[in-house]
Amino acid sequence: MVQQTVVDETRRPPAIVAVEGVVKRFGRFTALNDINLSVRAGEKIVLCGPSGSGKSTLIRCINHIETHDSGRIVVDGVELTDRMGDINTVRREVGMVFQSFNLFPHLSIVENCMLAPMKVRGLSRAQAHERARGFLRKVRIHDQADKYPGQLSGGQQQRVAIARALCMQPKIMLFDEPTSALDPEMVKEVLDIMVELARDGMTMVCVTHEMGFAREVADRVVFMDHGAIVEEADPETFFRAPRTERARDFLGQIIH
């Protein structure tokens, strides 16, 4: 029972991410059950739902960190199959930010940002360094460039993780609960960066429970439960008048 707002497809830019009938199982547990989602270039989507609803699994399928069992996922014109070449083509254009940052602890902040551009994009050390400096400035952490991840706070580490992903100059950014592992006072500094990124026109798919962020930047809120998309609406509609009982329950729990 998917409820969608009717849109005039002809006036919209084509989808940069198309998820069609995707099913994902972990053993006997169905994590994703016939998911259909399309994301247009420049669109910002917030995925929310109770834990175990499949939202993280869904975005992890978009860059093939998780493999889907059936259905189709097409990212920027490339269908994700088992072919490693295609998978890496997609991954080059899709940046990801994890809940637990996953910075490389043995590399300095700037080296964290330089590694993939050098090894994957073929940039020289100097080019990669310049680019890393630029994005570290953008996330306002350039003065810590020579420190190591373990020397930074959680909020700073997550901003570095965003810069590291941006250094690959991706077309799409995926955020998997980027503020869930942070102390409350550090959430804002990360969200501020994400809002700026949204203003710059980045295509973003964010799994988050930060409803303020969703209201501010999301074009669409996608609500999931039990591996299915239950409701899809613009944030104003979703928060003011959720159509399904499950969405109402969920919002009742997270908004105090």
């Binding site: 093939h64 960190i65 602890p105 590694l115």
Partner: protein, 231 residues
């Protein structure tokens, strides 16, 4: 033999020195061969390469259950016969004591280093692999630039222990009539009846080398320490 007389050690020094050099050379070669092969073995298991991973597992289980001294022995006597059969002539192809020692130690240590690296690989957080995937790093770059540097840092104290044990185990080459540091000392000690002096000096040499190695690794660890890491 009531008083200690260390002059004998001075006279014997050139012989002890050549024994020490052999021990060090054998340790160095076995370390390099063992680490390279051992890392390959660990990665083959880590990637669960069909069939080969099982063979490697079996090899490691076998090697670890046999004393090194027996392996040396069998290698020295059996491999020439096997080589003879393979070459078709049927006559044993002798490989010599020195080659036997270097090859056997390398293959033997590979099994132990492999286990150390394998455990180290498991200690690396899954998120590190996912971050590499998300950045489209190739498998080779993932391991070369991200995973192995962390594994080697975690495993370095155990690798050091294993290498010190290896250095001490070089004394087993006496079964091949090769002369290492301990072998040289014991031959001389029995020749001139100065066992106590000789063995005292040898203890000091072993102690000096082992603690120098520990100091060296401690320095390396400090130099390559991960700043801010909670270890």
């Amino acid at each position: 033999m009531n008083s200690l007389d260390f002059s004998i050690v001075l006279q014997a020094w050139p012989y002890l020195w050549s024994g020490l050099l052999f021990s060090l050379a054998l340790t160095a070669v076995a370390f390099v061969v063992g680490m390279v092969l051992g890392t390959c073995f660990a990665l083959l298991q880590h990637f669960e390469v069909p069939v080969i991973a099982k063979i490697v597992r079996g090899y490691i289980a076998l090697v670890r259950s046999i004393p090194l001294i027996l392996v040396l022995f069998w290698f020295f006597f059996l491999v020439p016969i096997v080589l003879g059969h393979l070459s078709g002539s049927g006559r044993p192809v002798p490989i010599g004591a020195t080659w036997t020692a270097f090859i056997t130690f390398g293959l033997f240590e590979a099994a132990y280093y492999s286990e150390i690296i394998r455990v180290g690989l498991r200690a690396v957080n899954r998120g590190q692999f996912e971050a590499c995937q998300a950045l489209a790093l190739s498998t080779f770059e993932t391991y070369r630039s991200v995973i192995m540097p962390q594994v080697l840092r975690v495993a370095s104290p155990i690798i050091l222990s294993q290498t010190i044990i290896l250095f001490q185990d070089t004394s087993l080459v006496y079964v091949l009539s090769l002369t290492d540091l301990l072998g040289a000392a014991s031959k001389l000690a029995q020749l001139n009846g100065r066992l106590v002096e000789m063995y005292l000096v040898i203890v000091v040499v072993y102690l000096a080398i082992s603690s120098a190695a520990s100091q060296g690794v401690a320095l390396l660890r400090k130099r390559y320490a991960i700043a801010g890491a909670r270890r």
